[in-house]
C-alpha cells in the first residue's frame, strides 16, 4: 500500500474514531456519522458486483432487508445473540443471491437487473403480509435490553460508530485486495467484455455468482448493523425502492469500481443531504432538500460520469 494512502486513510479513520471523545458533543452528530458509515458500507458492498463485476443489481436492498429481519427474528424469537445471528444473516443474503444468480446469470441483457427489482418488491409484499413473523407494515422492533454488549445493544451511538468504522475500513482493504486478485480481475474482465472473458477461459457464470454472493453477504452485514442501531426494521426501509436507489449512490458519486470511491461518494452524499435538509428547515421550504439533492446528483452524473475518483484521476494524469 502506498504511504500516502495509508496516511490519508488512517488519519481519516482515526479522526472519525475520536469524534465521540469531543467534550460535550451532541449525540445527534455521532448518529449522523453512523448513518454515513452504514451508507458507505452499502455502497462498498454494491460496488463489488456492480462496480467490479458490471452487473447492475437494482434491487440490492433485498439483501440488506433479509439480513436485518433475520437477525431481529432470531433474537426476538430464540434469544440468539446478533453476534451469532449476523453470520446466519450474511449466509442467508449470500444464498438468496446465488438463487437469483442461478435464475438470471445464464441469460444476457436486463433480466438480472429486472429480477433484482422484482424480488426486492416481492419481499416487501411478503414482509407486509407475513404479519406473524415480520410484524407487517409496522415492522419488527428488536427486544430492548439496555446496554447489553452480548445483544449488540448500547445506550449511546458511539459503539456503533466504532463498529461501523471497523467494517468500512475492512471493506475498503478487502476491495483493494479484490481489485488485484484473481477473482477481482475476472470480475473486471467480465464487466469489460463478457465474450472476450469467456474466450479467455474465464468461467463467466461462476465468476458472477461468486461476486454476487460476496456483495450480498457484505450488504447483509450492513443490514445487521442497521437493525441493531435502530432496533427496528420495517418493509419500506428494508425492501423499498428508495433504499435500493440509495445503495447505488456512494459508488456512482465516488467512482464505480474503485476502492475509495464509495467512501468519498457516501460522505459527499450524506453531507449534501444534511446540508440541504438544514437549509430546507431554515428557509421553511418543505421538500426543497430533496429537489436540491436530486439536482446535484444529476450534475454528478452529467459532469463527472466516472465519479469523484475519475475526476481526480483525470486531473492528476500528466501528459506523457
Amino acid at each position: 500500500m502506498r504511504r500516502r494512502d495509508l496516511l490519508v486513510g488512517g488519519g481519516m479513520a482515526l479522526a472519525v474514531a475520536l469524534v465521540p471523545f469531543i467534550p460535550g458533543i451532541n449525540s445527534y452528530y455521532i448518529s449522523v456519522i453512523v448513518r454515513a458509515l452504514t451508507f458507505i458500507m452499502l455502497g462498498q458492498a454494491w460496488n463489488v458486483i456492480a462496480g467490479l463485476g458490471g452487473q447492475l443489481s437494482l434491487g440490492h436492498g433485498v439483501f440488506f432487508g433479509v439480513a436485518a429481519y433475520a437477525v431481529a427474528f432470531l433474537f426476538n424469537g430464540f434469544g440468539i445473540s446478533p453476534w451469532l445471528g449476523l453470520w446466519v444473516a450474511m449466509a442467508l443474503s449470500a444464498l438468496l443471491a446465488l438463487l437469483i444468480g442461478l435464475a438470471t446469470f445464464r441469460s444476457r441483457g436486463v433480466y438480472f437487473a429486472l429480477a433484482t427489482v422484482a424480488i426486492s418488491l416481492g419481499f416487501e409484499k411478503v414482509a407486509r403480509f407475513l404479519t406473524a413473523y415480520t410484524g407487517g407494515d409496522a415492522g419488527l422492533a428488536v427486544n430492548f435490553r439496555g446496554t447489553a454488549p452480548w445483544a449488540m445493544q448500547f445506550r449511546g451511538p458511539a459503539p456503533f460508530l466504532w463498529m461501523d468504522l471497523v467494517v468500512v475500513v475492512g471493506f475498503y482493504l478487502f476491495t483493494r485486495w479484490l481489485l488485484r486478485s484473481r477473482l477481482g480481475l475476472r470480475l473486471q474482465a467480465v464487466r469489460d467484455d463478457e465474450d472476450a472473458a469467456a474466450a479467455s477461459g474465464v468461467d463467466v457464470f461462476a465468476t458472477k455468482m461468486v461476486g454476487f454472493a460476496i456483495s450480498a453477504a457484505m450488504t447483509g452485514l450492513a443490514g445487521v448493523l442497521h437493525v441493531q442501531f435502530y432496533l427496528a426494521i420495517d418493509p419500506g426501509t428494508a425492501f423499498g425502492l428508495f433504499q435500493a436507489i440509495q445503495i447505488q449512490l456512494p459508488a456512482l458519486i465516488g467512482g464505480l469500481g474503485t476502492a475509495a470511491g464509495p467512501i468519498l461518494g457516501g460522505a459527499i452524499a450524506i453531507l449534501l443531504s444534511e446540508a440541504t435538509n438544514w437549509w430546507a428547515t431554515v428557509s421553511k421550504l418543505q421538500g426543497a432538500d430533496t429537489l436540491v439533492y436530486g439536482v446535484v446528483l444529476l450534475g454528478v452524473v452529467l459532469f463527472a460520469p466516472a465519479g469523484v475518483m475519475g475526476f481526480l484521476r483525470r486531473k492528476r494524469a500528466t501528459p506523457r
Binding site: 474482465a189 469489460d192 467484455d193 474466450a199 477461459g201
Partner: protein, 236 residues
C-alpha cells in the same frame, strides 16, 4: 491421426435466420487453416460456435476426438482451443499484465503465472515494455498482440483468430502475420478467419465461406489458383 479440430455438418441459426449451413472441415496439428469470406459470410459465427459462445442447431464439433458440444467457453479454452475474438477485445481498464493473468489457468505441472507471462513478453517485447499500462491506452497493433498473447497464455494446441488484421495499417498487419507464422512454427495450429487474402501466405489449407456455406475448400495453392478467390479476394 486424429484431427486437432473436426467440424462436421455444422449449422447455426439466429432466430430462424441461417448463418451457417452444413459446414465441415478439420484442422491437423501444427497447420494453419484459413477461413476466407466476405462480411456476413458466417466466419465469425463459425469461430464463436467452435469457441462455445453460440450453440449450433445441427452438426458436431470435436477436439482431439472428444466432442466439444455443450461445453462452456471456458471449458473449451481449458481443452487447448484458444479463441481470440474479433476486434482486439482486450479488457481496457486492466493493465497488460492483468489482461494476460486473467486467462492464466493454474494446472498441475503447468507454468507459474510469472513464467507464463514472461514467455508471452519474450514473444512480444512491446508488451513487456508496457506491462503496467492500461490495455485501453495501447495502439491497435499492441492491442492485437495482447489479444493474441492472452490466447497463448495456457499453451493451446489450436489458436483461433478472428480477423487479426481488421483495422490495422498494412505494415502492422504484416507484423501480426509474421508473428502468427512464428507461432505456427512453434507447433501451435492456427485457425485464421480473414478477409485479407494475404493471409493465404501463412496457410497450409483453407476454405472460402459464402452465405454460410462452403464455396470452396482445398490446399493453399488450390485456393490461390481458383478463379473465384483471385477475382473476389486478390483483385486479379
Amino acid at each position: 491421426m486424429t484431427a486437432l479440430l473436426e467440424v462436421r455438418g455444422l449449422s447455426v441459426s439466429y432466430g430462424g435466420l441461417r448463418a451457417l449451413k452444413d459446414v465441415s472441415f478439420s484442422v491437423a496439428p501444427g497447420e494453419c487453416f484459413v477461413l476466407l469470406g466476405a462480411n456476413g459470410a458466417g466466419k465469425t459465427s463459425l469461430l464463436r460456435c467452435i469457441g462455445g459462445l453460440v450453440r449450433p442447431v445441427a452438426g458436431a464439433i470435436s477436439g482431439n476426438g472428444l466432442s466439444l458440444l455443450g461445453l462452456r467457453p471456458s471449458a473449451i479454452a481449458h481443452r487447448g482451443i484458444a479463441h481470440v475474438p474479433e476486434g482486439r477485445r482486450v479488457f481496457p481498464h486492466l493493465s497488460v499484465f492483468e489482461n494476460l493473468s486473467v486467462s492464466w489457468l493454474r494446472r498441475p505441472g503447468g507454468p507459474t503465472l510469472p513464467d507464463a507471462v514472461e514467455r508471452i513478453y519474450g514473444m512480444f517485447p512491446r508488451l513487456a515494455e508496457r506491462r503496467h499500462q492500461l490495455a485501453g491506452t495501447l495502439s491497435g497493433g499492441e492491442q492485437q498482440a495482447l489479444a493474441i498473447g492472452r490466447g497463448l497464455m495456457n499453451s493451446p494446441s489450436l489458436l483461433m483468430l478472428d480477423e487479426p488484421s481488421l483495422g490495422l495499417a498494412p505494415v502492422i498487419t504484416r507484423q501480426v502475420f509474421s508473428q502468427l507464422n512464428s507461432i505456427r512454427e512453434s507447433g501451435i495450429a492456427l485457425l485464421l478467419v480473414e478477409q485479407n487474402a494475404s493471409s493465404l501466405d501463412l496457410a497450409t489449407r483453407g476454405l472460402v465461406l459464402a452465405n454460410g456455406s462452403v464455396a470452396l475448400a482445398g490446399s493453399r495453392d488450390n485456393l490461390r489458383d481458383s478463379a473465384f478467390v483471385r477475382r473476389a479476394y486478390l483483385g486479379l
